[in-house]
């Protein structure tokens, strides 16, 4: 889940406008983009890498560690299943608005195959100084700088702001893990927290949550066991709660998911929860002071 230089990246949807633009940016930062997929353009070369009809075809020729999905919502399920069948270890799904029934199938298939899904609806992952996969300004050195803070964020824009604040405060990042804004994501806050806990380069963690779901509460259970300091900001304190799911939603979440529940769970686990994004950098500066 943390990108390491040299890891080979397959881009599904490489020939599209966004696929092309961001593949170039990834390459500029040093990410090893080694192949692309577009069923209609198989056999061509795009941005200097070969284009294949499918991920399965691509990995027969060129083994890949990760695949990144630049494919529209209605075609995303088939593209991701293709990547899973190709044996890629990690699939970064940028696509937003994939039908929920398709997302259920994607996660079930990934689980069986032992494949990690990041997203859907993620802005991607960045390892400053090594590379990035996705649609983040990973190449922008005013925003991302190598260092020791691991950043977890559901949102790309807010995550970018946090990294920028950290960089300006003199705190570089060991990794940015964009986990995605969709309700059902393959890599949860807790999964990302565990990865950063294991990562030797990470000394402290900025955890950016959002209201809705119970991922922050579940992450808090793990945070309790950690020695690395964690600062957290949870967006959505002033947003009205989503009541769409009625009785069934209340039965399943049992009252968790709101701002107060998340803040309380995190604070009880020893996490420093702050009120504005800039305070994340201040809180983590304090850790080193």
């Amino acid at each position: 889940m943390i990108y390491r230089s040299g890891q080979k990246v397959l881009v599904q949807g490489i020939t599209g406008k966004q696929g092309t633009f961001w593949s170039q940016k990834m390459m500029e930062m040093g990410t090893s983009v080694v192949a692309g997929v577009n069923p209609k353009r198989a056999g061509e070369t795009h941005l200097g890498v070969p284009v294949f009809a499918s991920a399965v075809e691509a990995t027969k020729q060129i083994p890949c560690d990760l695949s990144v999905i630049f494919v529209p919502p209605m075609l995303a399920r088939d593209a991701i299943v293709d990547a899973i069948d190709a044996g890629v270890g990690c699939v970064v799904v940028l696509t937003e608005h994939i039908p929920a029934q398709h997302v259920l199938e994607i996660h079930a298939r990934a689980k069986r195959a032992g494949c990690r899904i990041v997203g859907p609806n993620t802005a991607g992952i960045v390892t400053p100084g090594e590379g990035f996969v996705g649609i983040m300004p990973g190449h922008n050195q005013n925003i991302f700088k190598p260092g020791h803070i691991g950043v977890i964020s559901r949102s790309g824009s807010l995550g970018t702001l946090i990294c920028l604040n950290l960089t300006r405060a003199g705190l570089g990042q060991s990794a940015f893990l964009g986990i995605g804004g969709d309700p059902m994501i393959g890599t949860t806050t807790r999964d990302a927290l565990e990865a950063l806990d294991r990562d030797e380069r990470t000394h402290a963690i900025a955890m950016i949550g959002e209201i809705g779901g119970t991922m922050e509460e579940e992450a808090a259970e793990y945070a309790r066991t950690m020695k690395k300091p964690i600062a957290s900001f949870i967006a959505g304190r002033s947003s009205p709660p989503d009541k769409k799911m009625g009785h069934a939603g209340a039965i399943v979440t049992g009252g968790r998911g709101g701002y107060a529940s998340k803040r309380e769970a995190l604070e009880q686990a020893g996490v420093r929860v702050v009120d504005t994004p800039h305070e994340i950098a201040l809180a983590l500066q304090g850790v080193y002071a």
Partner: protein, 375 residues
């Protein structure tokens, strides 16, 4: 996409072969009286998307056409959960032996479908869930394996359903098929009634469809209750923007849902009140011009925060849209910018040169200035 009871029954349950009561949709006391002449003693039920209709007095029994007309007069026009009742469903009064609860929904935490069943259905199911969680059976489904009658039977093992068991098993299997084939986020039957004659019938149905599947489910999209919208929200939706009008006085224009929510939070933290939520994330970042028009059309707006942090979204493109709209609309509210990320240098130069404004380094400071200006 939410369906009201009558639509959930006619568009979803009936085509799936799930047993439902004999009912008519009516819009006037006269129609209700007429319906009761046809179906006999009936339950008259307000048709609104919110739950808790019974507790709000929106569900009443009527044994005669005259009673039906009287009951209809009280229910029609009533406001439940912010919705005015325009129609009632007149459904034949069932001889209920027991009330169960059944639902199939997306269990977000498990990334799986979840089937719920309880023998204690009815209005107090949420209290049952809180006080005695064991009274609700839960079955997490492996979506690649599916959920049919054998799984339903296994899930119900040990419950004393008696002669109702076959009907419940059949209903659960049908609900799961509905969930999968109709792209549901939730299909819920409360109560699922065992009648005195032994039949198992869905007396109510709540259906929430997946917005992302609108194109796959045109019939559901057409039957869905339209979202309650203000005029500005409707204009936003037409432009492909999710705009929510709030009652504050600080307008918000930011990119991405996360940064937008955060800007609203910081406004609150600084002692102000946001005037709107507006999402221009993803591809919508090119719509900054129409977005600004929306924000400024909100009559409550006394000042404005523009907070951009470009990752995928290019701040130069957004700033160009904002500057253009500003020059066209010439609004007289003060605006406070904070701009970082992709395209930052060009965006800052645009705002500086064309509007003569200096963006704030920290969004917190831009927000603070906007909150002060609004007071």
């Amino acid at each position: 996409m939410k369906l009201e009871e009558h639509a959930a029954k006619s568009v979803v349950l009936r085509p799936a072969g799930a047993p439902i009561g004999n009912a008519r949709l009516c819009a006037s006391p006269e129609e209700v009286a007429e319906a009761i002449r046809a179906v006999g003693p009936a339950v008259v039920k307000a048709q609104v998307p919110s739950g808790k209709r019974g507790k709000a007095g929106g569900i009443k029994v009527a044994d005669t056409p005259e009673e039906g007309a009287e009951v209809a007069k009280t229910i029609l026009g009533m406001t439940i959960g912010g919705d005015v009742v325009a129609r009632v469903l007149v459904e034949e009064k069932a001889a209920i032996a027991r009330e169960f609860y059944a639902a199939v929904l997306i269990d977000v935490a498990n990334r799986s479908p979840l089937v719920l069943f309880s023998t204690e259905g009815g209005m107090d199911i949420e209290e049952v869930a809180l006080d005695r969680p064991d009274a609700i059976r839960r079955h997490v489904v492996d979506v690649l394996e599916g959920f049919g009658e054998p799984e339903a039977r296994a899930m119900l093992r040990g419950l004393d359903l008696g002669s109702a068991e076959a009907g419940v098993v059949d209903m659960l299997a049908r609900l799961y098929r509905i969930f999968r084939e109709r792209d549901a986020e939730l299909v819920e039957i409360n109560p699922l009634a065992e009648l005195k004659d032994g039949r198992v019938v869905a007396l109510d149905c709540k259906f929430v469809g997946d917005d992302a599947s609108r194109d796959l489910q045109p019939e559901i999209a057409a039957a869905a209750t339209p979202d309650k919208q203000t005029e500005l929200e409707r204009r936003g939706a037409e432009a492909g923007l999710k705009f929510i009008q709030l009652d504050g006085n600080v307008g918000v224009l930011a990119n991405g849902a996360g940064l937008t929510m955060t800007t609203m939070d910081v406004i609150n933290h600084a002692g102000g009140r946001p005037a709107n939520f507006l999402e221009i994330g993803g591809e919508a970042y090119t719509k900054a011009e129409v977005a600004l028009d929306l924000v400024l059309s909100n009559p409550g707006v006394k000042s404005l925060v523009v907070n951009f942090c470009g990752a995928f979204a290019r701040t130069d493109v957004m700033a160009e849209g904002v500057v253009k709209a500003w020059e066209t609309l010439k609004p007289d509210v003060p605006v406070f910018f904070s701009i970082h990320g992709t395209g930052e240098d060009e965006a800052v130069a645009l705002v500086r040169d064309r509007l003569g404004l200096e963006p704030y380094d920290l969004m917190e400071d831009a927000v603070k200035a906007a909150v002060e200006a609004a007071q």
